[in-house]
Symmetry: C2
Subunit: 439 residues, 2 copies
């Protein structure tokens, strides 16, 4: 309308946003996930979006993915903000939080954290640069009971089961089993093997064998045994026997198999096949030290993990001189949700939360409409009053377009009582705002 | 424990974070605010934290407060991210959202948006660089009915009344009244007067008079009339008569007084004094064009506005060639909450959401404890199982330290039934997990 320059807005690749009818579904998911976490007694924590760079880089590994902040109008030479970066996960901020507030927390400390994280990726199809993660972690001083290794996948199972997802599987393994098995084979550098086996789903048996017998320096027999271990898979503690039958032994292997057996046994009541021990799962390099988790979609395992985690020896060692082991798992909400939206698998929810639209047939009925709406709101119904006197048909059309299920007619001057119309069925009936209930 | 370097974490000025027992209160507030917004039919929208800089700077005014993003490891000459900045409010992103999704929205579009925003301020005591805003706006094509000017302060009143705040007042004014009054006085540049009167609470009558009769070029009589208008204040439509008695008239003034009268009249049922017409409120320069809002704490008006907003002629004019007027209001959640926390006025909430801790008196009772907990969770109780067999006294101590109100004893082997202990009263009684209710 004005002559000013128009900046045509365009979506920014990697920063998803939703229309209200999709956002309402995401919000329902978030409520569901939070309720699931709280049901098990996890406490909410939020940390700033920003950390000091030396905190973010204390581990050094992920430096290439960090967004740093700069004041647009900073004075020359003013670098007060140059040391700030957006967090790229919720684990580093949580570790910093626990270290910083150590004396004010009760351990074992169980927290959930549902927040956005940022990765300074190059703009690229399907790569998110801002996304929401839903993390739960348990951290304790010196020792975290194995109880929690079993509790976390149970919580995730419960949470994911309550969402309308395509079939998924939570895969479980134990890094001690892998490392102990390789040690039992007399392999000098078990981490090199873990690193190679981690690529199994991408490069296949032959590719892994090539690395193992090549750069990793294994004999053909050793490599064959490693690949045999990676093939072990099962839904119950029989996998422990399957591993034992491979005839390798070490103290660490025994310890890992005990732990894996305990976790599988604890989850035995879950629907068969929803949790699977998969000895090929390794989850990265040197972060995890025991149980590891990785959930994937059954029909699209190549999409990668939709939730992941595991046990770590010392979460906050970079920030405090205390031994603080933990176990945690993270649901990649945006990763899951955006994929389903893109595939058209998320049915649109309601475009607004309104239960009832109270119509205003004429300007002098506005007071009555407002009083009716107030009464309905007191009783917990989300209620709108149409914003002006207008033809009732136009007001019903507004309700219909917004997906508002009920239209309310305040009493008319001729003494007719309140009436409510159910837009789904078209039925209209007398109603009392003090006692009406959704049919 | 390891020899590695320890990065001692320190709080970053301007980026607040809370302990779990404070966070649980903030979360309750957020739920309350959201429910209040939804009760009136406002739909949730979230936008990315990041916008293109040309979107953020389309108005030009606030450029000094923007944080821009940079990839820590960007290649030399790679400026793909150089055009991204964190949003500094929720109004600009909402305007961009409405323009971008114009064809997919139903108007009038009523949205709420509860998100963090960032200001690239210098680190400074009491200045937030990251904080949460809770915004509601109504936007429509060509015309927004006055209904909404009255509805927004009603919603804010309802929301704030449900929070444990020190006394506050929502002040209301109308820019048309100010501008129309100044025009009626024959003042050539009404905006200069608005700008001066806006400083009234800081520099007082004499300071404002000095500006008006000096740089603004008003006569002493004109300046006196402007100051008289700024003194008009009242809780009902009598303020309209008070303004009229000043003997100034213009078409715009009449229009503004009609609007102000309508809004005050619509809010007449609210507790007297909670909404006040204050003709000294101006709210900035050229953004708002009609009704304006500003809420402050009664005992600390100098702290500035705790919520603010108003009506604008054309929200998204920078982004789309449509006339999209709107009216909106924003609650400064962090501004309010952090102040009360600092003053010790926020009582600590629960450090965890757990209702019931089920104890594990001996390892062989673990199965029974887990089954009991599952039953309680099904029934909606947030339930923890103590993570290992231990002395019951130690487990009760854990519950007590975490503020868990009930401790549950699963049935013992000797056939004794379930018992539950209320830690507040010390009472212990038989209970059935299938029927127990909080006393």
């Amino acid at each position: 309308m004005s002559d000013q320059r128009v900046v045509r807005p365009t979506p920014i690749s990697g920063f998803p946003e939703w229309l209200p009818e999709i956002r309402s579904v995401e919000l329902r998911w978030l409520d569901h996930i939070r309720a699931g976490f709280e049901r098990y007694g996890f406490a909410s924590v939020e940390t700033p979006s920003v950390e000091n760079l030396d905190v973010l880089l204390a581990k050094g590994e992920t430096s290439q993915e960090v967004y740093t902040l700069h004041r647009l109008q900073a004075d020359a030479g003013d670098d007060t903000d140059a040391r700030l970066g957006l967090h790229f996960d919720l684990t580093v901020p949580f570790a910093r939080y626990v270290a910083q507030h150590f004396n004010d927390l009760t351990f074992p400390f169980k927290r959930y954290q549902i927040q956005r994280v940022w990765r300074g990726e190059r703009p690229q199809e399907g790569r998110f640069r801002e996304f929401t993660q839903c993390d739960i972690d348990v951290i304790n001083v010196d020792r975290v009971p194995l109880h929690f290794d079993a509790e976390l996948p149970r919580i995730v199972h419960e949470v994911l089961s309550g969402l309308p997802l395509p079939a998924w599987t939570i895969n479980i393994n134990n890094r001690k089993v892998l490392q102990g098995f390789y040690e039992g084979l007399g392999i000098a550098d078990p981490l090199a093997v873990i690193r190679a086996v981690d690529k199994l789903h991408k490069i296949g048996d032959d590719g892994v064998r090539e690395i193992l017998t090549g750069p990793a320096g294994l004999t053909a027999d050793q490599a064959a045994a490693c690949l045999e271990l990676a093939r072990v898979k099962g839904t119950d503690t029989s996998v422990v026997d399957d591993v034992k039958r491979l005839g390798v032994s070490s103290a660490l292997l025994d310890e890992g198999l005990d732990e894996l057996g305990f976790v599988l046994d604890s989850l035995a009541d879950l629907p068969r096949g929803s949790v699977v021990a998969d000895l090929s799962i390794a989850r990265g390099l040197d972060y995890y030290t025991g149980t590891v988790y990785e959930a994937t979609f059954d029909d699209d395992p190549g999409y990668g993990s939709i939730c992941a985690g595991g046990r770590y020896e010392n979460l906050a060692g970079q920030f405090i001189r205390r031994s603080l082991p933990g176990v945690g798992i993270s649901i990649g909400l945006t990763r899951i949700f955006a994929k389903l939206v893109a595939e058209g698998r998320i049915g649109a929810g309601r475009a607004c939360p309104t239960d009832v639209l109270v119509v205003v047939p004429a300007a002098d009925r506005r007071g009555e409409a407002l009083r009716t709406a107030a009464r309905l709101r007191e009783r917990g119904f989300n209620t709108e009053v149409f914003h002006q006197a207008a033809k009732v048909g136009k007001q019903i059309q507004y309700a219909s377009r917004k997906g508002i299920p009920f239209v309310w007619f305040p009493p008319f001057e001729d003494g007719r009582p309140h009436e409510v119309k159910d837009l789904a069925t078209g039925e209209q009936a007398e109603a009392d705002p003090a006692s009406w209930a959704r049919p």
